[in-house]
Symmetry: C3
Subunit: 161 residues, 3 copies
């Protein structure tokens, strides 16, 4: 019986890990749209990276600075929604990789919202004593340049390391 119990526990933990990572990813949009620099930054490791294509960050402090930036505060004041689709998550021990689609909605002056950007995010994470943290995150637009293709291929191959 103990063998079976161990196997069930391992499978259950895998589902819990994926749930925790999906939740972390689902938190990013609402936190960044409400302009909470510390809560956004806490999703990253202290020396975690974030490359948006326009902006390269390489620490939790850099991520917080992005949220506090005039550019980001301008987006929030105008009305914006960083909207993410459900991620495909692959966990390998204490490391994980996830890929999801994203769009940025920005409020128009007249009415409604413009889809300003659309693309994918490749997110690498590691398990720590207090949960999962983002090691690196890379966003690329689906803009005809093909720059998102490698992220998609790597993310769905699921090589977490």
């Amino acid at each position: 019986v103990s063998d079976t119990l161990e196997s069930l526990e391992r499978r259950l933990r895998a589902l819990e890990d994926e749930r925790d990572i999906s939740r972390l990813i689902a938190s990013y949009g609402p936190l960044v749209d409400s302009g909470d620099p510390d809560a956004v930054a806490a999703l990253w490791a202290v020396d975690g990276g974030y490359d948006t294509g326009d902006w390269k960050m390489s620490s939790r402090d850099d991520v917080a600075a992005m949220v506090r930036s005039e550019e980001h505060r301008g987006l929030i004041a105008r009305g914006c929604c960083h909207f993410f689709g459900p991620p495909a998550v692959t966990v390998d021990g204490d490391e994980a990789v996830a890929i999801c689609q994203s769009m940025l909605l920005v409020r128009r002056e007249s009415r409604g919202y413009q889809v300003a950007r659309a693309g994918v995010h490749l997110i690498r994470l590691q398990r720590t004593g207090h949960g999962w943290e983002i090691i690196s995150r890379t966003a690329r637009q689906l803009d005809g340049s093909g720059q998102a293709d490698e992220l998609i291929s790597v993310g769905l191959a699921g090589e977490a390391r």
Copy 2:
């Protein structure tokens, strides 16, 4: 062994609860877009509330009346999609809270769809003998007013009561 079994069962039930709640939330959009008043209303408790910002409902009957309203039927006739992102769900015993992002797509007269609204939904639920039901649901737009910020903070703090 029974201790471990009980612990595995509790963790498994937590995942099942989150799955059930995620499914309930994923059902709302398709049901409201197909104009099914009874199926939409059945997601709520008999005296459950829904505050869209423009419209305050305080019962299952009120929710059904919203779906039957001339305003909502007009949206459906034009072509609309109430699109929701993956929710972050927190279960605490027989109560739960979830937050997710949302957008409303409305078909243009010429071609394509306009993103008419974008925001977040904070959803409180309770467990009943026949599954989870919505106790209260509040939607706020991300329109620069900051009115969505408290929902986001409460929803991600995960205080289900």
Copy 3:
């Protein structure tokens, strides 16, 4: 104890099945947007079907041909994102049905993206020796015609056969 273990294992497998199917569905968008015909086609059974409303496919080869088509390559070259919401999945033994919302974002010549389509996808799957495969997939727009209503009703009733 073995009775309980068996019951836990069955519930755990149900969650794993739903996770596997959700992941398969979440993979479609990134794969089709990166223009990978073989990887997209591999999501389907050899004789699986896909009816987009404009285009009827009835095999893995047909799906690959769609991804290789001039029309689809034109969309990718312009910049496109086939964006899907979180699915509601119902598993019944070795068969499953899922419904999810979808939109197609197409890059504008000036800036940003147009929401060119919005609707629902009804997806029927079967379990094989190497995982779940799509048996049939039907997409319909939410365009005021009511053509999506039956998909929604069938998908949420969850009759997998």
